[in-house]
């Protein structure tokens, strides 16, 4: 009788303990999830690196009140903060300019990089603009040589209100770790899509004309 009573007491106590533990764990988990921002290691495997960067951006976009109201400038700001540090946009700009790059002066090159920056931010924002509460980034299995210096990482951004969007990243290995230099949204590579536009603008109005046109776009 006595032992049974003790067992009963112990079981109550252990139940209560379990409940408390669960509550603590839940609180911890929730606060952790709300904090979100996971550390990004540019020297990790390409897939993990991209996943970390993209997840941080997705979390931030999902939680931001201004974004929920449809504030595009806020998305741009988040992209600038969370994605651009991992993007080599100098290389993006250089490759988009192609053979015209060498013909420009250093000052012109720098001006072009600065002018194109806004367009790049808006493009990366575009990949994030349609996410909703249930959106997730599913990394696709990495194919290719993980030891290569130039790799492609593929992902699918799922959402509830439409088909999944394929977003791929092209990365290069630098001494500081991986850097993204090209993005592919639904089979459209960014650099590829600007080569003709750059060439066409330069042929018509010169290198400075292109810079002016890009700056004009940034004002819109």
């Amino acid at each position: 009788m006595h032992t049974r009573f003790t067992t009963f007491l112990t079981s109550i106590r252990s139940q209560r303990w379990a409940a408390t533990a669960l509550l603590v764990a839940a609180t911890f988990f929730v606060s952790f999830a709300a904090q979100a921002k996971a550390p990004v290691d540019p020297k990790a495997a390409p897939n993990e690196f991209v996943q970390a960067v993209a997840d941080n951006a997705l979390q931030a976009v999902k939680q931001d009140e201004a974004v929920k109201r449809g504030d595009l400038n806020r998305i741009n700001q988040l992209v600038d903060e969370l994605i651009l540090p991992y993007v080599n946009f100098e290389k993006t700009t250089r490759l988009a300019a192609g053979r015209y790059w060498r013909q420009a002066s250093t000052a012109q090159q720098q001006a072009l990089v600065d002018a194109f920056r806004g367009t790049l931010i808006r493009t990366y924002s575009g990949a994030l603009a349609n996410v909703d509460e249930v959106s997730r980034i599913n990394m696709q299995p990495f194919r290719g040589d993980a030891n290569a210096d130039d790799v492609v990482v593929r992902s699918l951004v799922t959402r509830s209100n439409g088909p999944a969007v394929g977003v791929d990243y092209r990365l290069e290995k630098t001494p500081e770790g991986w850097k993204v230099y090209d993005i592919n949204i639904e089979n459209i590579w960014l650099i590829q899509n600007y080569r003709n536009q750059f060439a066409q603008q330069i042929q018509r109005d010169g290198f400075d004309g292109l810079i002016a046109a890009l700056n004009q776009n940034n004002l819109k």
Binding site: L72, K91, R94, L95, G98, R99, W101, R102, T119, R122, T123, G126, A129, N130, Q140, P141, R143, G144, D149, D150, V152, R154, L156, T158, N161, G162, P163, A164, R170, E172, E186, N187, I188, W189, I191, Q192, N193, Y194, R195, N196, Q197, F198, A199, Q200, Q201, Q203, R204, L210, A213, L214, N217, K220
Partner: protein
């Protein structure tokens, strides 16, 4: 009565399109060519401007109104039902391309969505990880080895190439396309309403992409042309690169940029 009206309407549409094409083709100024794949650029730019005008005056406002007036779940439902019809056509094309895996996957999608998804209203297949595998006759011809031919902007329909445009119009005329089941409806008002809804729904789906283009393009015409060509090429290349069973994420379709700067290794 209804059966008579059908070919007549189609012929009338055809005549109108032909008339517009001739008018535009003769009336346009010559423009400097910006892409080797776009030899008809001056005609294309005129047609692009025409489409843009029609779009801005008619389609786009209707699409926005549709978006504002209907709840999101309803739009998803409509879009999924049309998507389900397209899947049938995609499956058929996967079959033509001898891609058994894609064929059975898409067929499975159609069966699953038509039943569990309440007639295609809910895309339950995607929710369970069976994502859409887009396919069409133009891609099939590409996989069979036919090049795209020159880029061409079609009246109303927009970006296309000689290959894809011919496949689309040919399939349409021959009565084999994703819209065939709709054309089989004998009640003309019902049929036309569904076709109208199809157009509005399709345009609504493009509103966001449109917005991005407006915010990022230097020249909208070139942007849209190059995006379209890239996308079409990717569809064909992905299907050619492997003969295997996995969904295709092969690397063969990477664009090759010759990097002129000596500071870094060439990017390929």
């Amino acid at each position: 009565m209804n059966n008579k009206a059908r070919p007549l309407t189609r012929r009338r549409i055809g005549l109108t399109l032909a008339a517009i094409t001739v008018t535009l083709a003769s009336g346009c100024a010559s423009v400097q060519q910006t892409s080797p794949r776009d030899p008809w650029e001056s005609y294309n730019r005129s047609m692009f401007a025409f489409n843009d005008a029609v779009d801005g005056a008619l389609l786009k406002p209707i699409a926005y109104a549709y978006r504002d007036l209907t709840p999101q779940p309803m739009r998803s439902c409509v879009s999924n039902i049309f998507g389900n019809l397209e899947d049938v056509w995609s499956a058929f094309n996967s079959f033509l391309q001898a891609r058994g895996h894609d064929f059975f996957n898409t067929l499975g999608r159609v069966l699953f969505n038509s039943t569990m998804g309440l007639g295609g209203c809910i895309d339950v297949a995607s929710m369970n990880g069976a994502y859409k595998i887009k396919n069409d006759l133009g891609t099939t011809l590409g996989v069979w080895g036919l090049g795209t031919g020159p880029y061409v902007v079609l009246p109303f329909a927009g970006s296309s190439t000689l290959r894809d445009g011919t496949a689309r119009l040919g399939g349409f005329a021959a009565g084999v396309s994703s819209l065939t089941p709709i054309f089989e409806i004998d009640n003309v008002p019902v049929r036309n309403s569904i076709l109208g809804l199809y157009a509005v729904e399709a345009r609504e789906g493009l509103l966001d992409a449109d917005e991005i283009v407006n915010r990022t393009a230097i020249d909208r015409y070139s942007f849209i042309r190059d995006a379209y060509l890239q996308q079409r090429d990717a569809l064909v290349n992905q299907r050619r690169a492997d003969g295997g069973t996995l969904p295709d994420y092969s690397d063969d379709d990477l664009p090759d940029y010759s990097d002129d700067a000596a500071t870094v290794a060439p990017a390929n």
